[in-house]
Symmetry: C2
Subunit: 546 residues, 2 copies
């Protein structure tokens, strides 16, 4: 490998500076390193054209070096004051905005995602970084608790005990292909880990290497500008799973954030569980996001629901984790009207390019598999899209409730704009078919006012299955806020106790520590005597700001 | 197996009622079931005497039946109102108090733990149940968050999003041998899981089967009195690891609480990770609880520290998870005075019976292994205790800092009253030896006012290693409150992100769910429009009770 030491010119406007030119290098601490384990190119999915430059792939040595730098950086980074850490996150956001014109163009070239969506995703990414900056300053995440000493308690006095949460340590983040900004190099996993005080090593997704370099170097510049230890952030490229497994099994890495396939996520779970010191893996993997159309809702607006559904299904060629891949309704004229309306909208819609060859091949195979099952009928397809190298042609299938209940393969995810309408024999079948579903990111219920009797037990059932329940809307579009949950029971994620979107995501990278009779002068700020940070704290179990 | 259906007489004062007579049966929902896979007896560790009755061991079928009942009970139990669930926990506490005389005697017979400690542990157990009852009523644990709709937001309106935490589902709890009440059938794992709304299946520890039956039937009666589904609580006996593995791999079980050996805990971790649907395991396993004696503290009171240390070391024959098994100090006259004082106290102390043959054998082997290492010297031993079947004879060893740094076997846990004083060459060695330690439940620092310069960096280092940091005290004695952390990085526990003692323990059995545009009439109480439960909730990220 070759090194371009940029430590002396972190904010420089040289060749790799302002975001225009790309060097094909990884970010290892303060250095830019050209990997020598082969190369990868960005590819324009619309045309199949190979984009410049070549990106040098790293190997186990680069993963180990990045992880070691992260471990070196951890003590100083976790000790940064809330304001300093927040300013660092805000500066990453500003750095991304400063290169936004070049960045948007590169994302469009590498992913063929519609430009307006890329702009929205960029705003979401910078908004997310700023939201975590606000969160760091607010300080709730420290989970401060104080049980004051009770020297006169019998039979034994109580010591002074204080609790706060501390960061886990260096985190390995695996960028997703379908959100090249918001779930990638500076996405939610990176933002929440940095907010918690954890250095980050990103394994960049090979489907958008140029995007990754642009964002990675923006973070690298922010690290240097804030005088933070270089190991706070690194980003490596790697082929296959070698570099990823090297990262996950590196003794310096303490947690993993991943968004991608079920096969990829479960491989990392296994690798993490087999370590001498096992570590948590937060993998967001697989979900078909069931939609339930209750009779009153269908009666009131089947055709309009069909149009809305088709729009949710085909957004981003269906390559969203929350794409509605399964619809339940009671067979009858209203459900027919819904299906007809959706079919018409799909046939009249636009076929978008998929993110790349691999995803397109998997989608084509998945559609063939689903369509080939007994009792499954295709009822709609999007335009052929034969001017596109990897067309994400939407498909709509139907089946019956009995057939669905008998064939588990019908709930296997087909990543892309394919969905299956299950025509239930009667509403009483709902509980059984939903109860047999695997864990999901979302479930959606369309209900009219007079559907309440069906809706209430449904809500209880779905609470036990999914991370987010949507009423009278669609699952696509995940708002980044304080109350959002983008998670859910396995296999939606590896760990349903958390979320990868929203401020609760910081919890993934923290653990509690108790301080017993620690002298006032040594107490960490969140649990100090004067509440110098002005936090809400639990004192004897009661929230107070005193 | 044979069934004694007690469903019709749950509060009865029959043979198995008031706590006096024991039947040798398991608790499977509302039934008492005599297992037919062999028997186990309680044993008086002081004399080796086999105690009546014989307890029938269950097999995989009983584990499966208990887990299926727990799954059946889950929907109704999770839906219980806070007051109802709290009253149930309080009633378990009252039921234990109602049989306390018989219970204390049985614990003493089965464990030979000193009667005063058993009474204290009983009070801790009932206090813990009541603390969780208070917590359930207070409702913070629901983690309620609301991001209100912003219909005018651009470019996209924001939907109404609300978040609360829901119980994971049935939990398997493995009782510990060393706390037959507080970490066993109705211990902290059971209390926190029930508080969260999770049914519990306990695998009782074979070292105190009579204690387990008494407590298990007390819980069974409380379930019946409160009209809860029978599967809210079951308790099985089992030999070896078969029943335990059957529970952990049962598809109905959603989480595991365990306190015991590192071998046992890691076996459960592996079994849980290999399931088709992996589940979290909260195993509290192994810790040697380092104590650091800084120079000023030694100068000010070496002899008194030595006496206190010996008392902490020998409490309960050292069979506490927080027993101080490792001491660091700089070699010199003050450390000699500490060691001499501790050695004198140990030699003059009382040798207590250990909990059983197995633990005594492991302790004897561990002491021989540690004492047989190069550069390790035994400096004290407790009285021989040759009137006791399984004497927990205390031992104190010393070694040098260089030898400790070179021999990882010196930090292997010896469960019992054995400890190793490491005589550092100089204080600068502290960082390296502590940095090389595995994860621990606790670390203790004795510091005088003028030790501050050494103490501050020590605190930062220890925060990254342990779950609780004790200053100028001793690690034994874990106060049950809101701020306590009884946890720590692997191998202290399987999952350093949690605690098994204190109210934060409820977090282990919860996961977040988001509700998007759910109609007001369907919203769960913690996130309803009127805040009917009067909770502190995060609204747009700000805590409020409005």
């Amino acid at each position: 490998m070759t090194h371009d030491d940029t430590g002396g010119d972190p904010g420089g406007s040289g060749g790799t500076g302002g975001g225009g030119a790309l060097s094909g290098a990884m970010v290892i601490g303060a250095e830019r390193v050209h990997g020598t384990h082969g190369t990868v190119h960005g590819v324009d999915p619309r045309t199949g054209e190979r984009l410049s430059p070549a990106f040098g792939l790293g190997g186990a040595a680069e993963a180990a070096r990045a992880a070691a730098l992260a471990a070196d950086a951890f003590p100083a980074f976790r000790a940064t004051a809330p304001n300093a850490r927040a300013a660092f996150l805000e500066d990453i956001a500003a750095g991304i905005e400063a290169i936004s014109a070049d960045l948007v163009e590169r994302v469009v070239r590498e992913t063929s995602i519609v430009r307006a969506r890329v702009r929205g995703e960029l705003a979401r990414t910078t908004g997310q970084l700023r939201l975590f900056a606000d969160l760091v300053r607010a300080g709730h995440w420290a989970g401060a608790r104080i049980d004051p000493a009770l020297p006169d308690r019998t039979p034994l006095p109580r010591p002074d005990i204080r609790q706060r949460r501390v960061p886990l340590g260096p985190v390995a983040v695996f960028g997703a292909s379908n959100f090249p900004l918001a779930f990638s190099v500076a996405g939610g996993d990176t933002a929440s880990a940095l907010a918690a005080g954890c250095p980050v090593v990103v394994k960049a997704h090979s489907a958008h290497p140029g995007t990754s370099e642009l964002v990675g170097t923006a973070i690298q510049r922010a690290v240097a500008r804030h005088g933070l230890p270089e190991g706070v952030f690194s980003m490596v490229f790697g082929a296959g799973s070698d570099v990823g497994v090297a990262l996950v099994t590196d003794p310096h890495i303490r947690a993993v954030g991943f968004t991608g396939s079920r096969a990829g996520g479960t491989a990392l779970m296994r690798a993490a569980a087999a370590r001498p010191v096992p570590i948590p893996v937060y993998a967001e993997m697989s979900s078909i996001n069931p939609v339930v159309l209750l009779p009153g809702a269908l009666r009131d607006g089947a055709a309009e629901l069909g149009r809305q559904f088709a729009e949710s299904l085909t957004t981003g060629a269906g390559q969203l984790c929350t794409c509605p891949g399964l619809v339940f309704g009671v067979a009858g004229a209203d459900l027919d009207a819904f299906t007809d309306s959706a079919a018409t909208a799909i046939a009249a819609g636009q076929t978008l390019p998929m993110l790349g060859d691999g995803i397109h091949t998997a989608y084509t195979e998945g559609v063939a598999r689903l369509g080939g099952l007994d009792h499954v009928t295709q009822v709609a397809a999007g335009p052929v899209g034969d001017d596109i190298a990897a067309p994400g042609r939407a498909r709509l299938f139907t089946t019956t409730g009995d057939a669905f209940a008998a064939e588990p393969a019908m709930q296997q995810e087909v990543f892309g704009a394919a969905s299956l309408v299950v025509r239930l024999e009667h509403a009483g079948q709902l509980g059984a078919v939903l109860g047999a579903l695997e864990g999901q990111l979302t479930a959606t219920v369309h209900a009219a006012a007079d559907d309440g009797e069906l809706a209430a037990p449904l809500l209880e059932l779905l609470e036990d299955k999914v991370g987010r329940i949507v009423f009278n809307g669609w699952p696509t579009g995940v708002d980044v806020g304080h109350a959002m949950v983008h998670g859910g029971p396995y296999p939606a994620t590896s760990d349903g106790r958390s979320t990868s979107v929203g401020t609760l995501a910081i919890d993934r990278f923290l653990r509690p520590v108790a301080y017993q009779n620690v002298p006032a002068g040594l107490l960490p700020a969140p649990v100090d005597e004067t509440n110098s940070l002005g936090l809400w704290r639990q004192v004897d179990g009661r929230l107070t700001r005193d």
